[in-house]
Symmetry: C2
């Protein structure tokens, strides 16, 4: 990973409850045969999780049904709002470019993610959307939280696939 | 607009039916109070429009409910598939970064768009997603089809907003 301007340096310690919820969503997504990625949206003022979701691309026949997109949609529906300022998104994997942009559109305050995604990430890799002049709101970004556990879920999933398990 | 590697040079002539359908969707989206952008997904082999949608971000309280995202979701649902190889997407405005990535994930064959979007586009501007190493499928891109009419819709909409109309 190239050094970049996007990441904040201080990771929250211990792992926040919302990250654990995202991890649980990733686990259950994997059990459903989905790529195991999970997300949760947290209201730091009310100290509660507003919405959570795992990846449902296969189930919904929707290439856009990533965990972050579904969590954003669920949070907007729950709050009757099309923007989520002041709220934070936790996700087990660095968001792809699509989700990075959706997080920006939703005006989320902070993005906390687990594993880095060199091949498909759009935050610290590739498009680095938050550093683009076409990005009109960038969340604060904290990456690498509980990254080993989050990455291991994905590695196990893909190893199982290759082995035909 | 910087010269870029993404665009094909030959625009279809006359304006294809699917682009007219996208324009109609943009018109009706504007009438609903949405930013007037419309999209249609076309099957060139069967010579038919598979799905069409206008922007519904306000109606659905969903910052991700752009015309392209809804058209992709509708086409996937109609065909019972999570990928749309061989199909083409027509949209009145250069897709944003979120939609550019979703078009890639859906494996669409071609992207035809109308007006260029310097401020928010992710195809010929900003992230230029299809030129990134993290993009694993790029459609052929034709931009600027019926661009004056498509841009005028947007200009009228925003002029009306500024005037309080």
């Amino acid at each position: 990973m190239k050094k970049n301007r996007t990441l904040m340096n201080d990771l929250p310690e211990p792992v926040p409850e919302a990250m654990k919820a995202a991890y649980d969503e990733a686990l259950t997504a994997g059990a459903r045969g989905e790529i195991p990625v999970g997300a949760a949206i947290y209201d730091p003022e009310a100290e509660r999780i507003v919405a959570r979701s795992g990846n449902r691309s296969v189930e919904l026949n929707d290439p856009g049904a990533h965990a972050e997109m579904l969590a954003i949609r669920a949070a907007c529906a729950a709050l009757g709002a099309s923007r989520l300022p002041g709220l934070d998104l936790y996700v087990t994997l660095e968001p792809c470019t699509m989700c990075a942009a959706a997080i920006s559109f939703a005006r989320l305050r902070r993005l906390y993610f687990g594993a880095f995604d060199e091949k498909g990430g759009g935050v610290c890799h590739g498009a680095r959307f938050y550093e683009q002049p076409t990005c009109h709101h960038a969340p604060e970004v904290y990456g690498g939280i509980d990254r080993s556990a989050c990455a291991e879920l994905l590695q196990q999933f893909f190893a199982g696939r290759r082995g035909g398990a």
